[in-house]
């Protein structure tokens, strides 16, 4: 069974530029999560989707971050414009459904904002 796929693995941008990350969850997984992991900390949830609907985006900085999950499969996370403090690893995870199921993570995208 293929795992969660993410791209790119690394991205370096200047502040105020825009960037987008892509995630393809495990086949059949209805729930998709984006987490932000700042160096030295545990991951923190940015947004949770159930199929193509948003369940929780309370910690997403909506003035600069946006995310979508078209057709309930792949998802993209965008930052526009980026700030220095957005430098982090962005992790995508998926689970069969919400409530009780284990979340499986992708390899992450390391973003550096200069």
């Amino acid at each position: 069974e293929a795992g969660v796929a993410q791209s790119p693995r690394y991205k370096i941008i200047e502040k105020r530029q825009s960037v987008a990350f892509w995630c393809n969850p495990i086949s059949g997984h209805a729930t998709l999560y984006w987490y932000q992991q700042i160096l030295g900390q545990g991951p923190k949830l940015l947004i949770q989707f159930q199929n193509n609907g948003v369940v929780d985006d309370s910690q997403l900085p909506k003035d600069r971050f946006s995310a979508e999950r078209l057709k309930g499969v792949d998802s993209t996370l965008k930052i526009q414009p980026a700030k220095l403090e957005d430098s982090a690893v962005y992790l995508c995870a998926s689970s069969l459904t919400q409530g009780t199921d284990t979340q499986y993570f992708g390899p992450g995208t390391r973003l550096t904002v200069l």
Partner: protein, 117 residues
């Protein structure tokens, strides 16, 4: 809100020895799940073990086992016969049980484990 505390930022263990990583959590929920994830330098977050709070029996997965103390809100991970490949960051995580709605993992800050040859 739930919080997860890992009080050991770094630990080391000799190859083939046993090591225990500590985790405590705070919640008012009665039904929830606890996890240990491993994050090697490749950054891939890998599930090590999962414990359902309603189960009294401690979970085990090969060389990995937990000591779950619900009343004390403690969830430690024991790694037996440590191997060089166990070198990684280990995160303790909490997830409340819901039938619908948001189910994020709440993570601790991690413990960096080094296995020494």
């Amino acid at each position: 809100a739930q919080t997860v505390t890992q009080s050991q930022p770094e630990m080391s263990v000799q190859e083939a020895e046993t090591v225990t990583l500590s985790c405590t959590y705070d919640t008012s929920e009665s039904n929830y799940y606890l996890f240990w994830y491993k994050q090697p330098p490749s950054r891939q977050m890998i599930l090590v073990i999962r414990q359902e709070a309603y189960k009294q029996q401690n979970a085990t997965e090969n060389r990995f086992s937990v000591n779950f103390q619900k009343a004390a809100k403690s969830f430690s991970l024991k790694i037996s016969d440590s191997q060089l490949g166990d070198t990684a960051m280990y995160f303790c995580a909490f997830m409340k049980h819901v039938y619908s709605g948001n189910t994020p993992l709440v993570f601790g800050k991690g413990t960096r484990l080094s296995v020494i040859a």
